[in-house]
Amino acid sequence: MMNMANRIKDIFSSWEKGRNVLLYGPPATGKTRLVSELFQILNTKTESNEGIILDPNDANTPFSRPEEKLPIPQPVKVVWTTFHQSYSYEDFVLGLRPEISESGTRLKPFAGIFLDAALELSDASSEYNSVVIFIDEINRGNAARIFGEFMTFLDFDYREDGRVPLPLPLRQLTYTDGESEEVYRAAGVKAKIPIGYTFPKHIYIVATMNSVDRAAVPIDSALARRFDRIEIRPNPSVLAQEWGLDESAIPAPIDDNWQSLCPHETAYLLLDRLNLAIATDLGSEFELGHGLFATLTTGVLSEDIVWHDLAKVWDEVIYPQLEDRYSGRPEQLIELLHVDNPPLSGSYAWTLRTTRGSSVQSRTLTPVRVSELLIEEIQRSFRWLTR
């Protein structure tokens, strides 16, 4: 949680320096959660993480945090979008749509999200003083196509009050008497853009990108250098806090204690070990997010329920992700699962496959649904896997 507060501080610090932010990390590390937390902070009066205020007359909730001071002018308009392969310049900057009238069909200009944000802040009747645009999955769109010449205005230097403010280069519009034709905005509002109009300062972008996608869908380099990159890493401490585990009391699994690990300790250690192996074998951007384990039940009397939860999460979420990451590297996966080095006694979930009636083993894994095994085997297998 501390992590989340620090990351929000990092975002604010980038904004203060006039930089947009790219949140980058494996899935299930809390990127979207961080964005929604930020969304809440921007939309409501939120308590800061610093300072304690005491109301000495209030015995029930005497302490509180002072109100958060935002580094950008309020009120803030918040806009959310997700990039995808069909996302275009017309959606983000300016599109032309046909308007049918008695005199025929005309193409009318419609502002996309980015231009609309600029026009919002230039509208004297607007209640907003800054706009924040959240872009999910920024690497999944074609950046050069989506931003077009507006890539330049991601850079605060070229905006109003910047070092070299540049006029907006919208040649698609027709201009008369020093201003453009009417541009249609969201909610039916229209605006005209004066010649020489400069892009307003207080438009900030927070984008997210899944690091596991990096190889398949790399981010455009011109786009990447216009963002401060904040890495969101898997954080097992979040799980420890959620599960009420004292991290300092979680033992390192050794010969003497591995068989007595509780399911939550096992899950915590499992994430830690798998991520070290993944980081070594494939790179840290391929690690598993802590959120993958977040569905484990807490506060139940029977540990068996939690072991079954862990087995189910393994079967349905963790193992498929491991298979994807280790695709083409079967030996490394076999080693990761300790298949050649199982516990000294008792059955173990992961084995090498044999043909029916033969004991000759191939170097491939036997398909297994761990959640369908006996509870003792589930416990033994996961506990052993922490080592």
């Binding site: 507060a5 610093e50 300072g51 304690i52 205020i53 005491l54 007359n57 005497p62 302490f63 945090r65």
Partner: protein, 186 residues
């Protein structure tokens, strides 16, 4: 708003059921005395002394260290809180049994303020347990930047609406105790 104060740190300690019995029961019971104080375990001593802004050497050179703390919920009232050393590197908040003649139970930690109370004649911890709040009991002392102290307590489970950056969050923890700084997570 004018009454609100800026707090530098909050010291807190979880009161165990056995301690609750000891500070509620008759001070002289059959079969021996026992402790009439709230203990501060050795693991909490360095941060407690730091909270009080006193060095271990200075603390050991005096018989006790006393602060005056106002009552949260009724800040016109105040009372002393006396810290003493104890064997084994521990400390105690002295004279907290409410029935002892020299009782210094702080007014913030009395049934007048809704602090849990067990009958005067209870004879063992098990009996006291039924008066001990489900979810726990913690006492705390807040210190302002000006060095003034304010005392209070929490009881029961943590209300679900409390966010984790709220200073009240840790005051419903099941840990032994600690010190909450004015910056979340530090």
């Amino acid at each position: 708003m004018t009454n609100k104060l800026k707090i530098k740190r909050i010291w807190w300690r979880s009161v165990q059921p056995g301690e609750f019995y000891n500070i509620e029961r008759h001070h002289r019971i059959e079969g021996g005395g026992g402790s009439l104080y709230i203990e501060i375990p050795s693991s909490m001593v360095p941060q407690t002394l730091d909270f009080l802004d006193i060095t271990i050497a200075d603390f050991n050179s005096m018989s006790s260290f006393q602060i005056q703390a106002f009552v949260i919920g009724n800040p016109q009232l105040s009372g002393p809180i006396e810290f003493r050393s104890k064997a084994g590197g521990r400390m105690r908040i002295a004279n907290q049994n409410r029935q002892q003649p020299s009782s210094q139970r702080h007014p913030a930690w009395t049934s007048m303020r809704d602090f849990p109370r067990a009958p005067d004649n209870i004879t063992n911890k098990e009996e006291a347990l039924q008066y001990f709040p489900d979810g726990g009991l913690r006492i705390y002392i807040a210190k302002t930047f000006e060095g003034k102290y304010y005392a209070g307590f929490t009881k029961g489970h943590r209300p679900s609406k409390i966010r984790d950056n709220d200073p009240m969050f840790e005051l419903y923890s099941n840990k032994v105790g600690g010190v909450i700084n004015d910056e979340h997570g530090k």
